[in-house]
């Protein structure tokens, strides 16, 4: 396995979608290639950073708010 192969299949590796033999050669490459290990770790950090900076500071919309919203839509519709 080359560094290019590793980068190509990185997401499948992290999602645990690789067959056992490919996963083993992936892990073996990581054990002996510090640049690829650094690539994997910074890739994971990137996903973490992206998720965090885009998260809504007020948190997710609570389920009861849309419920009230739909009720408001329905009652507005009945009035029309």
């Amino acid at each position: 396995m080359t560094c290019r192969d590793l980068a190509d299949f990185l997401m499948a590796y992290l999602d645990d979608e690789l067959p056992a033999d490919q996963r083993a050669s992936f892990s073996a490459h990581l054990d002996e290639c510090p640049p690829c290990l650094a690539y994997l770790k910074t890739y994971e950090e990137t996903v973490k950073l992206g998720k965090s900076v885009c998260s809504d500071p007020q948190g997710p919309v609570p389920d009861d708010v849309p419920e009230r919203l739909i009720q408001a839509i329905l009652s507005a519709r009945e009035q029309n």
Binding site: P35, A38, K48, G50, D56, V61, D63, V65, I73
Partner: protein, 165 residues
């Protein structure tokens, strides 16, 4: 809902328009709402669709090429520019308000085709299948675009001066 629209649309006016469009769509489609789905999930999907429609209607600005942001390799498959670890962890970087903005700005620099998939999968947390349906592409295309978007974003974030300090 506005927060969701803002993630896809750079202009505040567009985000507000998308939410208004989403409310209209919800009003028109309320009869088709299936009781077994959660209302919040249903509305989330509607506002995402409205934001994507608005995004498609906007004239595209010149985009950075995704190829420029992907890792480069030598003929033997080794890294042309071997990556190294960042000096600081994601947790410590997130404590800096300016850096959160800088990361958001880098996401906005991604080409729309890739940024959209990144937002749908990593941020809005749609599945690969759902994302493929929303964008009318194959699941394989979603996987390829997501991986490239993350690789490109890694490159952009790694180039920020704060990362190597």
């Amino acid at each position: 809902m506005l927060a969701v629209a803002r993630r896809f649309l750079r202009a505040e006016e567009d985000a507000r328009d998308a939410v208004q469009d989403a409310f209209l769509s919800a009003f028109r489609a309320i009869d088709r709402f299936e009781g077994d789905a959660r209302l919040s999930t249903w509305l989330h999907r509607i506002v995402v669709n409205a934001a994507l429609m608005k995004l498609r209607s906007r004239q595209r600005k010149p985009e950075i090429s995704i190829e420029e942001l992907l890792p480069k390799y030598l003929e033997d498959g080794h890294h042309a520019d071997p990556p190294s670890l960042w000096q600081r962890s994601a947790e410590s970087l997130l404590e800096q308000h300016e850096l959160r903005h800088a990361v958001r700005d880098q996401i906005d620099r991604l080409p729309d085709n890739y940024r959209t998939v990144l937002l749908l999968r990593d941020i809005e947390e749609f599945t690969t299948d759902e994302t493929a349906q929303i964008l009318d592409v194959t699941e394989n295309a979603v996987k390829i675009r997501l991986h490239r978007a993350r690789q490109a974003l890694r490159e952009l974030i790694g180039a920020l001066p704060e990362i190597q300090r």
